[in-house]
Symmetry: C2
Subunit: 195 residues, 2 copies
DNA sequence: CAGCAAGAGTAGACCGGTCGGTCTATGGAG
DNA sequence: CTCCATAGACCGACCGGTCTACTCTTGCTG
């Protein structure tokens, strides 16, 4: 396994710790210790904890988007099934991690909602861009007859996304993937029911 | 206006600050300062920050339950409309607070999900009890013909609750009540559609 | 009724630890 | 030599909690 450079290692560890503990409960001391990198290096690469946080969420969002692309651009699969498979995979990963890791963007969004800094603005923008992706897939599903034309793609995408975030939150609190299981079952049986 | 006793004042301020800033980002120093109560009094009433946190969520849950009761027990209103009115009122209050205050239980649940202490367990139990309340109302709506008999009341209640938490989270990140508006519209047009 | 004792409650200085950030020194690469 | 990167001691502030001192209230006894 190739050794990462210091900056990447910090970001990687940041993703891990922010995902499990949250932003405020994670001091940079813990990040440094886990990454085995001294403080001077940290402040050479990042001017502040906030700038570090931004780098972490950018990395996470990039990876998430890459994964979203793999699933939502799969032309061998019908649009509605792309959505379904994407979320089912998400459920699998949640269960594999024993519900300790949710969605970093949603988690940090909640935790940092009261702040006015760059972090919250960036999180908001990321959530909106994801929503656009889902909306595009919903539009495709409508064009192929899988979903009713009366559904508003943007609003429905927002519904799905926030519903997903809420279900993941519940799974983390309950330490069980069941809330996500139930969310998906009902979502595809009602909102995303085939005509 | 009647002056509260010290303990109640602390709990009240705790609800306020935890709701806007979160648990970890709120030091007890800030609570004490805002309440105008010295530290010795704090530790006389609460053995620790965690015990204080428990008292705060119990107070919040009690108030929330009382409000839930007012709406869900209103026999002048049909069961489905009770749900609708309850959430519409919730949306109003969210907008009145300019999306700075969400649902304390959901927020703390997310923030403290990684912990093993009493706080997370209590939060989990509260969410489950709320789910039972919603399930009972859904059952009533089914019996009165407002909802399809094929809906599972428990699962549907869980769906609604986690969807609501996710929508409120989005509203806070976006600083707009729109996600909740959209959540409610779609929920009542699809999942809770009348037969 | 007055005085006393015990318990409840208030008050804030103090403690060790952690926090995010600063700064000086050093080493390595080009 | 210069620039980039590493290294870690140090700083003031804040953290949750401890502890001693003091005040107030209540109940009991003489």
């Amino acid at each position: 396994m190739q050794k990462r450079d210091a900056k990447s290692e910090l970001i990687h560890v940041g993703m891990e710790l922010f995902s499990t503990q949250g932003y405020n409960a994670t001091g940079i001391g813990a990040v440094l210790k886990k990454a085995g990198i001294p403080k001077g290096s940290f402040y050479h690469h990042f001017r502040s904890k906030e700038e570090f946080g931004l780098a972490v969420i950018e990395e996470f969002a990039t990876r998430f988007l890459a994964r979203l692309d793999v699933f939502l651009s799969d032309e061998q699969t019908s649009p509605l099934n792309r959505l379904k498979i994407f979320f089912e995979k998400g459920l699998e990963r949640l269960a594999d991690h024993e519900c300790t890791v949710g969605c970093l963007i949603g988690d940090l969004g909640q935790e940092l909602a009261a702040r006015d800094g760059q972090l919250r603005n960036r999180l908001d923008a990321i959530l909106l861009s994801w929503r656009e992706r889902f909306a595009a897939c919903i539009r495709e599903a409508q064009q192929s007859g899988e979903l009713e034309k009366s559904l508003d793609p943007h609003r429905t995408a927002g519904f799905i996304l926030s519903g997903w975030e809420g279900a993941v939150l519940s799974a983390k609190v309950r330490k069980s993937p069941q809330p996500v299981r139930e969310f998906l079952d009902i979502l595809f049986a009602t909102v995303l029911r085939k005509p």
